[in-house]
Amino acid sequence: MEKSKENLIQDVVRRSGVNPRKCMKCGKCSGTCPAYDEMEYHPHQFVYMIETGDIEPLLKSKSIYKCLTCFACVDRCPRGVEPAKLIESIRLSVIREQGNNHLTPQMIPELIDEEMPQQALVTAFRKYTK
């Protein structure tokens, strides 16, 4: 494995505080995920692909913006693996690169309506933008 990719995987895992090798592949995380239908890669696949070093497809996938951080997978994992933290860590690897923000202020007027609470905007910026 090339050095830069190895470093990136190490960064993703260290930053998340998760040990993907604890996973016993029961699939409960994906079974309970409310965003399952919208995801190309599902929570159990994030865990497995990070464990095996296959992270390029994850970095390019829109799935990293579909996780709702509802922590259903974190709470219901029988092995305490915490997949949502790995998904967040991959997303941070992407949006921390210059010019990679997933949401910009210019996009907002088209996305909001009269009733939308401020909470929706600040949370989306916290999740999608650096």
Binding site: R14, P34, D75, Q118, A120
Partner: protein
């Protein structure tokens, strides 16, 4: 009793009624909410990455102020509560990494998660007590069938939030009973409404919100209650059959504040 109060961005704007009802009900129950000075938005979501420091400093600042006054820090909004509580536990559990670096940014304080963080529901259950609330009820809900909607933020991650059993919570149901209502039990009370995905994928939020509302309706609910302005938005926008209100509205009605 006095507690430090962090209202958050939305309770000052789109969810003013949640703020006003919470303050008015607290006064009747003998609790004064003292808004902390110069609070800043919590950011709406706790970033789980261990190397994220700056995004958590507004919560740390609020915690420090409450701690100086020796008061618990109270929030009503589910998101503010989630972010501030997760930040506080991170301060306590990571003194050498996160707490050290946060303190370096906010010198000269040396804060390590000593403050108590409570949600308004915990204030009602643990500090006021449902028995006392029962005594103060002047207009009981008379068997109103209430679906209590927790969503994700109040309960998870359960090890950190520790408010109630994350899979079978009863803190809101017990409040409804104290107010003379009848809680209905339904499976989707702790499933996510879609949250901030509403901004860029409204259809996704619609699917999740409709499952929740349909499930509450099937169990005979007259009304759904929530503590979260974003759950309120998603449920109101995408469902029609069961009205959605803040839990404080029921409380205010039962205490005779609101018609």
């Amino acid at each position: 009793m006095k507690v430090s109060y962090f209202p958050g961005c939305t309770l000052k704007t789109k969810a003013k009624d949640l703020d006003e009802q919470a303050r008015a009900c607290a006064e009747i129950l003998g609790v004064t909410l003292e808004e902390i000075s110069n609070w800043q938005c919590c950011g709406g979501a706790f970033t789980t990455a261990s190397d994220e420091i700056a995004t958590k400093l507004s919560s740390v600042r609020a915690l420090m102020e409450a701690n100086k006054k020796g008061q618990p820090l109270l929030t009503v909004c589910s998101a503010c509560h989630n972010v501030i509580k997760q930040t506080n536990v991170a301060m306590k559990e990571n003194p050498d990494n996160f707490a050290f670096r946060a303190n370096m940014n906010l010198a000269p304080d040396n804060y390590n998660g000593e403050a108590e963080v409570i949600h308004y529901l915990e204030l009602l259950r643990d500090k006021v007590g449902y028995d006392k609330i029962k005594e103060k009820v002047v207009k009981p809900l008379e068997g109103l069938k209430v679906a209590c909607y927790y969503g994700c933020l109040l309960l998870r991650p359960s090890k950190v939030m520790a408010m109630d059993d994350a899979e079978n919570p009863t803190i809101m149901e017990d409040l409804v009973k104290a107010l003379g209502g009848e809680p209905v039990y339904y499976a989707y009370k702790n499933e996510c409404c879609g949250g901030y995905i509403a901004l860029e994928d409204a259809e996704s939020a619609m699917k999740k919100s409709q499952k929740i509302s349909n499930n509450a309706k099937a169990q005979g609910a007259d009304v759904i209650i929530t503590a979260c302005p974003l759950c309120m938005y998603n449920l109101k926008k995408h469902t029609k059959d069961v009205p959605v209100i803040y839990f404080t509205e029921l409380l205010a009605k039962a205490l005779g504040i609101k018609e």
